[in-house]
C-alpha cells in the first residue's frame, strides 16, 4: 500500500466497510440472478454518490472534492474485492475525465455537477471490433450545417445500458488505422437515431452495443479539437486503464484471499493442503506478484495526479502487469479449490469471469506490451 495520507486512509476504510456491509459479492449474485437490465443495483450507486465518490476527481468549483486518481483507485480496489457492480469507473472516472480533459468551460459547467450528483451517466464508446484498437475508429462523423451527423456502431460500451450519454470516438477525416482525423463527441443516449442492445457477457456486468444511425448533433457536442482527438482519447483511455488496474488489484486481492483461506482449511491426506510445498510455493509467487503489480498500479495513479511525463508508459505497465497477475490468480483460484471451485454456487467463478473481462477492456496484456515497447522506442 502506498504511504497514504490520513485522509486517504479514512476514505479507504470507509469504502472497505461500506463494500463489505452493503455491497458484498452476495449482492452481486442477487443482481445476476435477477438479471437486472442495467446490471447494477441503483441504490448502491446512489450511496456512492452520497459518499462523494463521483466527485473525487472533480474540482471544488464544480461540486467535487478534487482528491485525485490515487484516492479514486483506493475505492475502486475495494469495489473490486467484492465485485461490486456500478458505473463508478465507467462514468465517475472515465466519463468525468473526458470532460475534465477535453471540455471547455461551458461543457464543464453543463456536465460536471450532473456527473457528481449522479444524474448523468456518461460513458466512453470507443471500440468497434473484437479487439481494442482505438486508431481503427471508423464510425463516421460528417459535418452537416452547423453540426455533425454520426453513422456507425460501437461494441461493448461499458455500462452502455445505464448511460444517459456517450463520449463517442468518431472519424472526421482520414482512414481507419490512422491516429489522425479522430474526434470525440458528446451524444445523449436518447438522441434520435441512437439504439442500443444489452451485450450479455460471462461476467454479468453492464455492456451495450450501440448503433448511431444518422444521429444529428450540434457543434457544441464536439469535445476537444476537431480531427486531433486521438491524443485526448489516448490520455483518457490511460486514465481508464489505471482505474481498471486499481479495480483489478482488488479483484485479485479478493481471489487470493479466498484461495489462501481454502489452503488453510481444506484437508487431504490428513493435513491442510496449504502444507503441500507445490501449493505453498505457488501461493508465495502469487503474493509476490501482487506486491509487484500493486507498485505499478499505484505509480500509474500517482503519476496521473502529478501530471508526470511518463503517464502513458506507467499506465501500460500497470494494466499489463496487473492483467498478467490477475490472469494467474484467477486460474489458481479455481485450480486450488478443486471441484468446488467449478460450481456456480461458489463465488470463485465470478472472479474468474470478471478477471478476463477486465483484462480485455481498453487493451489486454499483449496490447500494452506492444505499446510499452513503442513508447520506449524499439
Amino acid at each position: 500500500m502506498a504511504a497514504l495520507s490520513e485522509e486517504q486512509s479514512l476514505i479507504r476504510d470507509q469504502a472497505k466497510s461500506w463494500v463489505s456491509e452493503k455491497a458484498p459479492v452476495r449482492k452481486f449474485r442477487e443482481m445476476r440472478d435477477a438479471r437486472i437490465g442495467q446490471a447494477y443495483a441503483p441504490e448502491a450507486f446512489s450511496a456512492m454518490v452520497d459518499m462523494g465518490w463521483t466527485g473525487i476527481l472533480v474540482p471544488e468549483a464544480y461540486g467535487g472534492s478534487d482528491l485525485g486518481y490515487l484516492t479514486f483507485g483506493l475505492i475502486l480496489e475495494e469495489l473490486g474485492r467484492q465485485l461490486t457492480a456500478s458505473p463508478l469507473l465507467a462514468s465517475g472516472l472515465v466519463g468525468t475525465s473526458a470532460i475534465l480533459l477535453g471540455g471547455n468551460e461551458e461543457q464543464k459547467q453543463a456536465w460536471l455537477p450532473n456527473l457528481v450528483d449522479g444524474s448523468a451517466i456518461l460513458t466512453l464508446a470507443v471500440d468497434e471490433g473484437p479487439r481494442h484498437a482505438p486508431e481503427k475508429t471508423a464510425l463516421a462523423a460528417s459535418a452537416s450545417g452547423d453540426g455533425f451527423v454520426l453513422d456507425g456502431s460501437k461494441v461493448g460500451v461499458l455500462e452502455g445500458m445505464a448511460a444517459t450519454a456517450f463520449v463517442v470516438a468518431a472519424r472526421t477525416s482520414g482512414e481507419p488505422g490512422s491516429d489522425q482525423g479522430i474526434s470525440l463527441f458528446l451524444v445523449p443516449a436518447d438522441a434520435k437515431g441512437v439504439t442500443r442492445s444489452a451485450r450479455v457477457t460471462a461476467d454479468s456486468r453492464g455492456y451495450a452495443d450501440v448503433t448511431f444511425a444518422k444521429v444529428e448533433i450540434g457543434s457544441d457536442a464536439l469535445l476537444g479539437s476537431l480531427d486531433e482527438g486521438f491524443e485526448l482519447l489516448d490520455t483518457l483511455l490511460d486514465r481508464g486503464r489505471a482505474g481498471l488496474a486499481a479495480e483489478m488489484l482488488g479483484i485479485a486481492g479478493g481471489a487470493f484471499a479466498m484461495t489462501l483461506d481454502y489452503l488453510k482449511t481444506r484437508k487431504q491426506f490428513g493435513r491442510v493442503i496449504g502444507s503441500f510445498q507445490a501449493l505453498g510455493h505457488r501461493a508465495a509467487d502469487m503474493y509476490s506478484g501482487m506486491e509487484l503489480a500493486r507498485s505499478c498500479v499505484e505509480a500509474a495513479l500517482a503519476a496521473i495526479d502529478a501530471d508526470a511525463g511518463n503517464v502513458a508508459e506507467l499506465c501500460s505497465l500497470a494494466k499489463c502487469k496487473m492483467g498478467d497477475h490477475l490472469h494467474l490468480v484467477s486460474n489458481e483460484l479455481i485450480q486450488m479449490h478443486g471441484g468446488i471451485g467449478m460450481t456456480d454456487e461458489y463465488d470463485a467463478g465470478f472472479y474468474l469471469k470478471r478477471a478476463r473481462a477486465m483484462e480485455t477492456i481498453y487493451g489486454n496484456q499483449a496490447f500494452h506490451r506492444e505499446r510499452y515497447a513503442r513508447l520506449l522506442g524499439y
Binding site: M1, A2, A3, S5, E6, E7, L10, I11, Q14, W18, A47, D50, M51, G52, G55, I56, E60, G63, G64, S65, L67, V116, L260, L263, K264, R271, V272, G274, S275, F276, Q277, G280, H281, A283, A284, D285, Y287, S288, E291, L292, A293, R294, S295, C296, E298, A299, L317, C320, K321, R369, E370, Y372, A373, R374, L376, G377, Y378
Partner: protein, 425 residues
C-alpha cells in the same frame, strides 16, 4: 456517511497538519549541497565508475587513488554512513543515506568500503550493532567502516546448506577461549579476509537449532586453512575453510552462548536486504539500455521495431518486470520511512531481483548471438566477455543467501501463515 462536503472539510484539516512537515526538506537539500561540494573536492575523477579490485586495494593502476578515496570516505564515516559516528559511521538516517547514494551515483563515485570489508558492512557489522557488547562494537566496527578489515562468513558446510542448522563444526570451551574444529565450504573471500564470523556447534545434547553459537575469529592463525574453489565462471571467489584446533577468544562470542541461531537469522535478513537490487551481479547497471544493445546487435525492421518479434516481446516483458521491481523498491522505502533495510518484503525482493538479473543475463547472451559465447581472445569485445562471465556467476544469486525455493518457503510460512511446507528431516 461522509458527503463531499465532509471530505472537503477533512481535507482542510489535513492540509494544515502537513504544512509543518516541509522544513525537513530544507535540511536534506543543504546536506545534498554539502555532499556535492565535498565530492568535487575529494573524489579522484580517475575513479569514475571504477570498483575496487576484488583482491584488495593494493593492486591495479588505480591503487593509489583508491586508497586515498577510501581514506577520505572513512574520515567522514561515509563508508557505512548509517552507522553511529562512534563506531566509524556518520549516523545518517535513511533519507540522508539516500541523498548520499544519489549524489555519489551522479558523480560516478563508487563506495569501495562495503566491497573491501567483504561481509563486514552488509552483514556482520549490522549484526554486531544489534547483538554485540559495547566492547565488541568498539573493537570490530571501526575496522569494517573504514574498509581496512575484511570479513568472511563461515556458515555453510558440505552437509549443511539450506539446512544450515545441521552444521557439524564444533567449538569446545577451554575457559578463556574456544577451540574450533570442522570444515566450512563456499566461504566467500576466506583466503583474503582477516576475520571470520563462524557458526559452530557448542552443545550437541539439544535440538539442532538450540546448540549453535556465533563466533568471531581471526583468519591469520595456524589452525585455519583455506583452499580456493574454482567456479563455472572461471573465478575463484570462495574457498573451503578448514578449522583445525583454531582459536576464538571468549570475548568474541557474539550474542549468548547457544543463541547463535537467532543471531544468524538476523544476519541472513541483512544479507537478503543487501541482495534486493535488480541491477545485476555486482550491482552494476550497464549504462546503455538493454533495448539499445538489442537494436545494435539485432537491427530494426522498416517501422523501427526490433527485427525479432519474439525476442522483442520477451525483452519487453523483462523491462516491465524490472520497472515493477524498481517501483516496488521505491514503494517499500516510502512506506517504511524509517529503516527499510530489514523487512518482511526482503524475500519477495530477493527473488524478484535475482529473477530479473538472471533473465537480463540470458537476454544479453541471446542478443549477442555468437558474440555472446566468448571465453577469451580478441574476436570478442570486453563487454561481450564480461557478459558471459556475469551470466555464469549470476547463477549463484538464486542459490546463496537462501535459495529461491527457500525464500518461497519463508514467504508461504512467515508471511502467508501456511503450515510448514518442508518435511522435517
Amino acid at each position: 456517511m461522509r458527503t463531499t462536503q465532509g471530505i472537503r472539510e477533512h481535507r482542510e484539516r489535513v492540509m494544515t497538519a502537513t504544512a509543518t512537515r516541509t522544513d525537513q526538506g530544507s535540511d536534506i537539500e543543504a546536506f545534498r549541497a554539502d555532499v556535492r561540494s565535498w565530492l568535487a573536492d575529494n573524489f579522484p575523477s580517475a575513479l569514475q565508475g571504477v570498483p575496487p579490485a576484488m583482491e584488495g586495494a593494493s593492486e591495479g593502476k588505480h591503487a593509489a587513488d583508491m586508497e586515498r578515496w577510501r581514506e577520505r570516505l572513512a574520515e567522514r564515516g561515509w563508508g557505512a554512513p548509517h552507522w553511529p559516528q562512534v563506531y566509524g559511521g556518520a549516523g545518517l538516517d535513511h533519507a540522508h543515506v539516500r541523498v548520499l547514494a544519489q549524489e555519489m551515483g551522479r558523480a560516478g563515485a563508487i563506495n569501495p568500503i562495503p566491497m573491501l570489508a567483504g561481509m563486514g558492512v552488509t552483514m556482520v557489522g549490522p549484526t554486531i550493532l544489534e547483538y554485540g557488547t559495547e566492547e565488541q562494537k568498539q573493537r570490530h566496527l571501526p575496522g569494517i567502516a573504514s574498509g581496512k578489515v575484511r570479513w568472511c562468513l563461515g556458515l555453510s558446510e558440505p552437509n549443511a546448506g539450506s539446512d544450515l542448522a545441521s552444521l557439524g563444526t564444533v567449538a569446545e570451551d577451554r575457559g578463556d577461549h574456544f577451540v574450533v574444529n570442522g570444515q566450512k565450504i563456499w566461504t566467500s573471500g576466506a583466503d583474503i579476509s582477516q576475520w571470520c564470523g563462524a557458526l559452530v556447534r557448542t552443545d550437541k545434547s539439544v535440538a539442532k537449532h538450540k546448540g549453535i553459537s556465533f563466533l568471531m575469529l581471526p583468519m591469520d592463525q595456524s589452525g585455519v586453512r583455506t583452499r580456493p574453489i574454482r567456479l563455472i565462471s572461471g573465478a575463484s571467489p570462495f574457498c573451503e575453510t578448514f578449522f583445525d584446533d583454531a582459536r576464538a577468544e571468549k570475548d568474541d562470542l557474539l550474542g549468548e552462548l547457544n543463541d547463535g541461531w537467532n543471531v544468524i537469522k538476523r544476519l541472513l535478513q541483512h544479507e537478503r536486504a543487501s541482495q534486493t537490487s535488480a541491477a545485476g551481479p555486482g550491482g552494476r547497471q550497464k549504462p546503455e539500455g538493454l533495448h539499445d544493445i538489442a537494436k545494435r546487435y539485432v537491427g530494426v525492421d522498416t517501422s523501427g521495431r526490433l527485427d525479432d518479434p519474439d525476442l522483442r516481446a520477451r525483452l519487453t516483458q523483462h523491462l516491465m518486470d524490472a520497472a515493477a521491481h524498481k517501483l516496488t523498491a521505491e514503494r517499500i522505502a516510502a512506506e517504511a520511512r524509517g529503516n527499510p533495510e530489514v523487512s518482511a518484503a526482503a524475500s519477495i525482493m530477493k527473488n524478484s531481483a535475482t529473477g530479473i538479473s538472471q533473465a537480463r543475463s540470458e537476454l544479453m547472451l541471446e542478443i549477442m548471438g555468437q558474440q555472446g559465447l566468448g571465453w577469451e581472445g580478441d574476436v570478442f569485445a570486453a563487454d561481450e566477455l564480461s557478459t558471459v562471465r556475469e551470466w555464469l556467476w549470476g547463477k549463484a544469486i538464486s542459490i546463496y543467501g537462501g535459495s529461491a525455493e527457500v525464500q518461497k518457503n519463508i514467504i508461504s510460512k512467515n508471511i502467508l501463515g501456511l503450515p510448514e511446507t518442508t518435511q522435517k528431516g
